[in-house]
Subunit: 425 residues, 2 copies
């Protein structure tokens, strides 16, 4: 190792010393301190306060309180936790609830949007969107009798940034709904929510944002941007746990008009009178469906503590510093080795992960995991995706990740792994 190497590493340590969020790492369980975990954009680490909360939900609320648990905080939890998440999304009270899964919530709100614009046949989205979002739209179009057309901006899945000119050109009076991932899952491109929402509204379309990769990573101003609908998962930067319930947002000005497509009893106005004909609950509550999974929901509520304490401004500041630092190190050490940057250089257009692309991306990821104790994830066809969750990823983690990645490539340590793909990462 060279003196340059040591000096560079020292710089990472110095950045950590100055990091105002450094102490938040102690609010998370770090079972293997030698492991560099860069999948917080897929499954966030376990906050320390969660385990006791879940034990209480199991042993006290279920085991001892039994059915009375529903009056003891369970029943109101979709709303109560929705309010907490709302503060992270720039959503005022009464507009966010926690329920179901992201795909289900997209189905519900996309359906409501099309219903509000019955004369308009087009849905605009892009090829950077998470495929499940596209599938949901495709299924909805079929269900509604193929009366709608999905306009998908972008020509391939290899793009880093969307074609904003093409997006703008697609917006006219035939468009009912524009739906996009606020931060895209592969490249981490961050859409300008304000601008896109304004563009869409100018032609009378509604906008639905998938916030899965931005909630807890970047400040979001749903109300300030006058967004119509939002959905997202809670198991990435919100650290809610594997498969934790999702959220949905409906702007207050649409509360009286928006009609849910799935009329479950949790979205009914008086569920315990057991009337035989559905009357929608007021506001966003009509988008609830059935009994929510309370153990997973309890974990989520506790898990929100660290991110709410840190605040989104500080989180964003560190996130930008981490991704910027990673790109600097990439430029100096990895670009010459044939790795391409798969994320935007402009920090204002970048979320909290950085993708590096290489034809051997899959085998390189395997080598990082198996030999280097670095856990990125891999996304077809060539993306090594490194998520920098600001509450527990350090600058030294970033430095070590790039350093070990350089070793994997220069020493060709990936070549021993088979070319087959992971089924789940």
């Amino acid at each position: 190792m060279t003196t340059d190497h040591d000096a560079a590493r020292k710089r990472a340590l110095l950045l950590d010393q100055k990091d105002p969020l450094a102490a938040f790492r102690h609010q998370f369980v770090v079972a293997d301190p030698g492991m560099i975990y860069l999948e917080g954009n897929s499954l966030g680490r376990l906050p320390r306060n969660v385990s006791s909360r879940v034990t209480r939900a199991v042993e006290t609320e279920w085991g001892a309180d039994l059915i009375r648990g529903w009056n003891g905080g369970w029943w109101d939890s979709p709303t109560r936790i929705g309010e907490k998440i709302g503060t992270l999304l720039g959503a005022g009270p009464g507009q966010v609830v926690v329920c179901d899964q992201t795909s289900i919530n997209l189905f519900k709100l996309a359906s409501a949007a099309l219903d509000l614009r019955p004369q308009r046949p087009r849905i605009v989205t892009d090829t950077l969107n998470f495929p499940s979002d596209l599938y949901i739209l495709q299924g909805l179009v079929r269900l509604l009798g193929n009366r709608h057309e999905i306009v998908r901006i972008g020509s391939s899945d290899g793009e880093i940034s969307p074609d904003l000119a093409a997006l703008e050109a697609a917006l006219d009076e035939s468009v009912a709904l524009v739906t996009l991932s606020h931060v895209t899952f592969k490249s981490g491109y961050l859409y300008d929510m304000q601008m896109i929402t304004e563009l869409a509204h100018r032609c009378g379309a509604l906008v639905l944002w998938d916030l899965s990769h931005s909630a807890g990573a970047v400040p979001i101003g749903l109300d300030a941007c006058n967004a119509d609908f939002g959905i997202g998962c809670t198991y990435k930067y919100l650290n809610g746990g594997p498969g934790a319930p999702a959220f949905l947002y409906v702007n207050r000005r649409l509360h009286e008009q928006a009609i849910a497509p799935i009329w479950g009893w949790w979205g009914e106005s008086q569920p315990f009178t057991f009337g035989l004909d559905y009357r929608p609950a007021a506001g966003v509550h009509r988008f609830l469906t059935g009994t929510a999974p309370m153990l997973s929901t309890s974990a989520l509520e506790a898990a929100l503590s660290p991110i709410m304490e840190a605040g989104m401004e500080r989180v964003r500041e560190k996130s930008t510093a981490l991704t910027q630092y990673a790109i600097e190190l990439y430029d100096a050490r990895l670009a010459p080795l044939g790795l391409a940057l798969g994320s935007p250089r402009d920090p204002n257009r970048r979320g909290s992960h950085v993708s590096l692309r290489h034809p051997e991306g899959y085998r390189i990821s395997r080598a990082l995991i198996e030999e280097m104790s670095v856990i990125p994830d891999y996304r077809e066809p060539d993306n090594i995706r490194m998520g920098f969750a600001p509450l527990y990823v350090s600058f030294l983690d970033v430095w070590e990740c790039i350093d070990r990645l350089q070793h994997v490539i220069t020493e060709k340590r990936f070549e021993k792994y088979p070319v087959q793909r992971l089924t789940v990462t």
Copy 2:
């Protein structure tokens, strides 16, 4: 107390001594042994093995394994647990998965059924069905453009048993789907699955059974009856925990034709290639949607152990004995006090709960809970519902429940409670 009273109580103790399932009570947490819990038909008790399983899911699988938990058993859990539940439903392998909530699963399968019978405009159900099921159908009909008509057999919500003649008369070639609760939520009426399924098939209709109140309570022969679709929750007699994920069944003969309405990535054929166009997964898996809540799912899997060990034949035998005993005691002691039996007398047409009806049902329930440590539930307008979960309810529990109920009524102990309704029970 009289000698008759003591003799009657001794008989209950004798029945418990002869009960082959008596020991199963020890597999459940009984935090307050003095409490008689009769809401196992709403939220089953906590099985003892669940807490350690959930702690492992939180601390080891999430906390330490992190993203690798998906390869360590999470990803396959909807199928793996579905197979276990399938054995309790009389469903052969590959036809049951665990996912989402009951109302969502009803939406998915009702939609698939209508799609399979595009020329038929009618859906037949009844007024005994759980209201959320009716709401889901109403929402679906609206979503599909009001092309369908819901035929609701029964004239009021005060009936104990359905009008089978009216049901049969409603079945003709205009009917796409017949959907009913196998055991109805208020009266506990148990439909003859074989007979109704045959009647429906004779006119070419499909049948979708809501098994929420029968799964884990009565033997179900989905395959033997040649049922088309089934759904149900897992937090009642399956003891899966508050809001535990639901299940769905699609008969194998429909696997290639049935089309899901909600196309999520978990129902896609190759979710990790991230293709932009949905291709349905094979078989019942196409009805999965998004990432399932793994803490609640882990609890459910462990919770199934006692019921699988007991076996549905023995469970049914004890269930019938418990409800029969309750009705005997009711006849002798409560019928003269103005309580009406709200459940079928024929044990072959009765699930595992018994409803007693009284104009003061709400206040009587309150008095039982507050003063007698008996926890029934109350269902508008006059049903005191007593669920007898065979794995942990004893004959002495039944005797005590009836005895204490008699005291509440003869001593008018309910009169001090306000007439207002519970919001959640």
